[in-house]
């Protein structure tokens, strides 16, 4: 059985994928996860999840068939507008 391990490096930080391991049950998964990702105090907490419990979605694009470029923010330069706004406000 394959388990995916997510580790939190410091309190308050998001959990990030650390790797996967093979273990026959939860007890073994816990022991191995602690051994691989906790022994050197490199994590403050771990999530250990059976791989089959993870819902994977491939190509997760919502259909985008009409031209709605205005919903996209790329190419929109905030820098110049922000500078002008600051000048108007006297904080530039």
């Amino acid at each position: 059985m394959i388990w995916e391990v997510f580790r939190q490096e410091r309190e308050g930080q998001p959990f990030q994928h650390g790797g996967s391991l093979e273990a026959p049950n939860r007890d073994f998964a816990e022991a191995y996860a602690a051994e691989f990702y906790g022994r050197r105090a490199e994590s403050v907490a771990l999530w250990v999840v059976p791989r089959e419990a993870i819902l994977q979605i491939d190509e997760p694009y919502v259909a985008d068939v009409f031209d709605r470029d205005y919903r996209r923010v790329d190419g929109y330069s905030l820098k110049v507008k922000l500078k002008e706004a600051r000048e108007r406000a006297g904080t530039g």
């Binding site: 273990a23 007890d27 073994f28 022991a31 602690a34």
Partner: protein
Amino acid sequence: MSAQAPAEAAVAAVLAFADDELVLGWRDSQWTGVAPFLEEDVAFSSIAQGEIGHARALYELAADVLGGDADALAFDREASEYRCAPFVELPLAGDWAATVARHWLYETADSIRVAALMESDWPELAGLAAKMDREEAYHRMHAEMWAEKLGGDERFAAAVDGLWPYALGVLEPGRRGRLAELAGREEVDAVERGAHEDGFVALHEEMTMVRRSIPGAAW
């Protein structure tokens, strides 16, 4: 150092304990690279290192009283001077069921020994035992999960039967009843410390080989 020198018997017990941990750590490390699967290879190698780390701390404590240092106590003595229990000397690499059986019996016995040493009137020893206990908790968890996993396995049951008289020999006679209780077995005649298993001389040769190659070298 404590105000009063520790009793000779206490120092001898520390040395015997150190020998147990060194030899068991050495035997367990023989699984490195060939354990049943990768995850267990890492975990069991780590436990083996843990035992050797405990051995070093115990040898250092003994060296405070006896003189010399941990390396000298670990590697400069003759094979006949080691006080380890024959239990830890048995070469079990290659037989995982028997290895788990020994691991589980040893950790169970060790929990009794460490708990007793935490009450020692030798303050440094009591402190060291408390420190070791925190790491042994992980070893015990590992041993128990494996014992549970192999609980219904015939080879494991046969291995526990065969090792039982050896396991009792790890503890002083007065503490063996507790081990029997925890293991759910009857107390029998133990295989005592003092004599060594046939393979011990070869193991001693191997353990001391590097140290003997350049006497007195610092590594």
